[in-house]
Every structure is written in structure tokens, then in C-alpha cells.
Homo-oligomer: 146 residues x 2
């Protein structure tokens, strides 16, 4: 192909793109079928649950989720409308706000997880041994963008 990337590396790249996209889509589809919100909601709420009462600044959450700023802004609107988070003004920074998970948000997590974990199993975990999954995770860890 007149470049310095070996064929096999390009093939691995292509697989990463294709497989991850396919599996993600399959998991999302399972969630949707079960009447659950999209994965992004889970990710956001999980982060917020982890930090507890202190909550998070949107920019912080955005950084952890690798999400575009305007996407996070709108995700928060939806989460708030759904009653899963609250936003309050940030005392130290007049521009900012602090986002906290609500009780309803906490209760959503296990409900989503029930669907989510079996989707992970069906579309991902069942196809690998634990050792393989670990190797995969380690390799992926090396290519983390951050």
C-alpha cells in the first residue's frame, strides 16, 4: 500500500474498528430492547456515583468520559430532566456548576446493570477466556489516548 504500516497492523486496526463498533452496537441494542437508557447514561451515572455527594464539575465529567463538551452539556440536560442528576451552582466558580447523582439515579444503575452485564457476557465475555480478556485489556491499555 506504499506506506510503512505493516499489513498485519492495518488488519488489527481494521478489526479493532469493526469489532468494537459491532459489539458496542449489539450491547446498545440489548439495552434499548430492554427499555433502558443508552450506555452513556450508565457511564455518567457511574462516575457520579463513585464521587458521591461532592459531585463533579461538568468539565471534569467530560474529561473522564472522553465526550465532547456540547455532548456532555446536553447529556446533563437529559439526565436532569429524567431526574437522575441535579445541578447546583458552584460556590467557588460563578460560571460552573456541580452535578450530583440523585436517589433515582442510584437506583437506575443496578437496573441497567442487570441488562448490561448479560449483554457484556453474551457479546464479549463468552467469546474469550478470562486470561484472553485480561491480555486484551492489557493491550488496549497501551493504546489509551490519554
Amino acid at each position: 500500500m506504499s506506506d510503512q504500516l505493516s499489513e498485519s497492523v492495518v488488519a488489527s486496526w481494521a478489526r479493532l474498528a469493526r469489532v468494537s463498533q459491532g459489539v458496542l452496537a449489539a450491547v446498545e441494542a440489548d439495552l434499548k430492547t430492554a427499555g433502558q437508557p443508552p450506555l452513556t447514561w450508565y457511564d455518567a451515572l457511574l462516575e457520579l456515583k463513585r464521587v458521591g455527594e461532592d459531585g463533579l464539575r461538568p468539565a471534569e465529567l467530560q474529561a473522564r468520559m472522553l465526550l465532547a463538551q456540547y455532548n456532555l452539556s446536553r447529556l446533563l440536560v437529559r439526565l436532569e430532566q429524567a431526574g437522575y442528576v441535579v445541578r447546583r451552582p458552584c460556590p467557588e466558580d460563578g460560571r460552573g456548576q456541580i452535578v450530583t447523582i440523585t436517589g433515582a439515579g442510584r437506583r437506575l444503575l443496578p437496573r441497567m446493570w442487570r441488562v448490561y452485564h448479560s449483554a457484556i457476557r453474551a457479546h464479549f465475555a463468552d467469546k474469550l477466556t478470562v486470561a484472553e480478556a485480561k491480555t486484551l485489556g492489557d493491550l488496549l491499555g497501551k493504546i489509551t489516548p490519554g
Copy 2:
């Protein structure tokens, strides 16, 4: 977490989701910065180039690309408007059509590849040895949805 998935498998899953999303986004961003069309265009045109003059039925292309039917339908509209493919009626099937890459489409591929391959290198290949990339590809191969 009160389920049968081991922590490490869930962690690998999370990495797959996060890393692939991040890297894909980075590559897309590089393409956009260089004024090139999105990755999907490349994938579609590459498939069409491979099959040559015979072209492909949309349903066939859709299956190869793991794309929703309506998404492919609209992708083809855009590609045709841009002059990179042509659609002609299918002689054996009155419902169908045959999609073929044009000369302009063929010329687009190397132009995109110039940006694409260096994005792959920067965001993916440079972070792994060839052996690691191969292992990664093999592992991903085991979880192919299709």
C-alpha cells in the same frame, strides 16, 4: 457486583469501549482536520473498489460494513452526490440496484489513505509492537459479532 462476570473481564470490556471510542474519534478528527470525508466513506469505497466493475448490491455492502439499512441508504445518496459512486438498476432484481465506484471514488481512496494511515500510526500502531498488534487482532477476531 453481584454477578458472574469477573472484575477483570468487566475491566477489559470497559477498556475496549473506552479505548476504541477514543481512538476512532481521534482518527476521525484527523481526517476532518485534513478536510477529508469520514471513515465510513473510506470503508464503503474500499469495498467497492475491491469488487471492481461488478459493483455491489446495497444489502451486500450493508452486510460487509455492519451498517443499519437506512444508514447505508443515505450514505449512498451522499457518495453519489459527491460523485464517488454510481447506482444503476439491477437487471436480475427489479427492486435492487448495483453500486459501483467511479474514477473519482478510486482517486479519493489514496488521498484519504495518506491522512488515514498516519492517523492509524499515531493513535494506534505507534503504541504497540507488531507482535502485540497481531495478538490484539487475533483476540478481537474471537469476538467478531458476525
